[in-house]
């Protein structure tokens, strides 16, 4: 049981990281980005390419992957999202474009690197035993990196100008425009930061298990569940939601077949929609 809690916290911190960006984009651009999970997979794969194929050290490879993923996100903003904003496209249009982008990214990964499972080239180390619980070093790394990233996000949102602008934008985009914020610039930063966090999430996922082209797709539902549970537009809600969903998914394996983990996220999401559609920390 305690083991499941540990596993849940590990998965939860990955979900939490990845969900932050999804939640921020959701409230700032006012649409659900269905390509979010595939950016996560992109980050994981780029790391794989640099470390396992090109032989770069894993940490450096991860850093390069995060930067490239963020750049890809910014490019997408220039090519797709910004022109659509200028046209005044409705959220439904953006949602459909995002699913097109998701199909594109996922199949680009399959095309380039194949559909099968991949592993990072990691030394196998023995886990630390605490009573009946085993924690691997990688799991500890995941939790620590996640905590550091969350603190960075917190610092960014509270202390930096760009972070404050993001919050202003997510509260009320018209007011933010009127007060002279360069909306396009803030949106580009939000894409970059949100997708960088997703990429980190993807890499961390690769530390604890295999990566595959569909990983982003499978993470999408739990991420949305986390965002809706935490309250759309609330980064802290997304973190909290992510951890709760991660814990719930892992704990469910005590009584349900592991294949139904996804159903747990689904049921929580439906319950939230019935009981409190604005989420725990939503306004």
């Amino acid at each position: 049981m305690l083991q499941l809690v540990v596993n849940g916290l590990v998965l939860g911190s990955i979900l939490a990281l990845a969900a932050i960006g999804l939640s921020m984009m959701y409230s700032i651009l006012n649409f659900a980005n269905f390509a979010h999970g595939d950016f996560l997979a992109l980050g994981a794969y780029l790391t794989f390419v640099f470390s396992a194929i090109l032989g770069v050290h894993l940490i450096l490879a991860g850093a390069i992957a995060v930067v490239i993923t963020a750049l890809v996100a910014v490019c997408c903003d220039y090519v797709i999202w910004k022109p659509m904003r200028k046209k005044g496209a409705g959220s439904v249009t953006l949602i459909i474009i995002s699913i097109g982008l998701a199909l594109f990214l996922r199949n680009l990964i399959i095309f380039l690197w194949g559909p099968d499972l991949k592993r990072y080239d990691l030394p196998v180390k023995r886990g630390i035993e605490l009573g009946s619980v085993v924690i691997t070093q990688n799991q500890i790394v995941v939790i620590m990196v996640a905590i550091i990233c969350m603190f960075l996000v917190h610092y960014l949102l509270k202390k930096t100008t760009i972070g404050k602008a993001m919050r202003a934008l997510s509260d009320n985009i018209d007011l933010a425009k009127a007060s002279g914020i360069d909306v396009d610039r803030v949106i580009r930063y939000t894409w970059a930061i949100g997708m960088a966090l997703a990429a980190v999430g993807g890499i961390l996922y690769g530390l604890i298990t295999n990566i595959n082209p569909n990983m982003g797709w499978f993470m999408l539902l739990p991420m949305f569940a986390a965002v809706i549970l935490g309250g759309i537009g609330s980064p802290y809600g997304a973190m909290l939601g992510g951890i709760i969903i991660g814990l719930a998914q892992e704990l469910s394996t005590a009584i349900l077949p592991t294949e139904y983990k996804l159903a747990v996220a689904f049921v929580i999401m439906i319950a939230v929609l019935f009981v409190r559609p604005r989420g725990i920390l939503g306004s």
Partner: protein
């Protein structure tokens, strides 16, 4: 030429089945503005219910009806928590539902035989048809397609369809005129899901053997591309879209021999292309091939 006929018939048959499947989505998205990203779930429910019931001794027609009804019921149930909220919740919930259905089909072997799949027990009029069954099944599916098309056209041009279109543009207006917007959305979703369920039964008759791999998430987006390419909210366009899609697919099979890619890579390229096409249409030609620009409310 004649030796290609069975192949051509098969392509047309598949296109017709997917046209029916896509007409269901067009009712939801094209006319009502509902985003259903899990349309394949109802396809699967229709197919599996039909085959499994028939296998356990229920008459074929009754099995098909049950499949259609169950698909409709599931559609309605998904609408209840989502359709009063923002439009993207339905998209998220349906996408999750479709995956869960697929996992259910994979795991509940006592019912669905899991990844092994199920053989189709009997097909309509099978014992009466000599020779290639597809030569019968194609006109049969075509008749079903035409009936679906006519019934839908009748609905769309009726006061009921008018209410749907008004919801698509601005649901405050029908609400201010006494229309129960939520009920209409549920009706559109139920009917759309039932049509997908029917298409699922037909798919099972064509495949003769169904397994969870037939109902991957991408199937939903085949319907999306058919609808969006043909012109959202245009039933003729949807049928045209499905035809173009499957002609393209069969074309890529021929192209396979001339390109230096593995079958997996070809498959990935196809879907990659569909993704790009979806983006391009929504960005540059949101009215699709046959849609009217003046009626374009969805993709402003």
């Amino acid at each position: 030429m004649i030796e290609y006929l069975p192949y051509v018939i098969t392509v047309l048959l598949i296109a017709a089945i997917y046209a029916i499947f896509s007409l269901g989505l067009n009712l939801e998205w094209g006319f009502t503005g509902l985003i259903n990203f899990g349309h394949v779930a109802f396809f699967a429910i229709g197919a599996y219910t039909t085959v499994l019931l028939n296998l356990s001794g229920v008459p074929l027609l009754l099995s098909v009806i049950a499949g259609v009804a169950l698909a409709g019921l599931c559609g309605g149930l998904l609408g209840i928590p989502t359709l009063k909220l923002r439009e993207d919740y339905l998209a998220i919930v349906t996408i999750g539902f479709a995956e869960i259905i697929r996992f259910f089909l994979l795991n509940e072997e006592w019912l669905t035989r899991g990844p092994m799949g199920v053989h189709v027990f009997s097909r309509p009029f099978e014992e009466l048809i000599p020779g290639d069954y597809n030569f019968f099944l194609f006109p049969f599916v075509l008749v079903v397609l035409v009936i679906c098309y006519l019934l839908l056209e009748k609905l769309i041009k009726s006061p009921w369809g008018r209410v749907l279109k008004s919801i698509r543009e601005d649901e405050d207006v029908p609400a201010s005129l006494g229309k129960n917007v939520f009920s209409y959305k549920i009706q559109a979703l139920v009917l759309g899901s039932m049509i997908a369920g029917l298409a699922g039964s037909l798919l099972a008759f064509y495949l003769q053997y169904i397994n969870p791999r037939n109902f991957m998430p991408i199937e939903t987006f085949y319907a999306w591309i058919a609808v969006v390419l043909g012109g959202s909210g245009n039933n003729k366009g949807t049928i045209l879209g499905a035809l173009i899609l499957w002609t393209f697919f069969s074309g890529t099979r021929f192209a396979q021999g001339y390109l230096p890619f593995s079958p997996t890579q070809m498959g990935a390229l196809r879907i990659l292309f569909i993704g790009v096409l979806l983006i391009m249409i929504m960005m540059f030609k949101p009215e699709g091939l046959l849609g009217k620009k003046e009626e374009l409310t969805l993709a402003r």
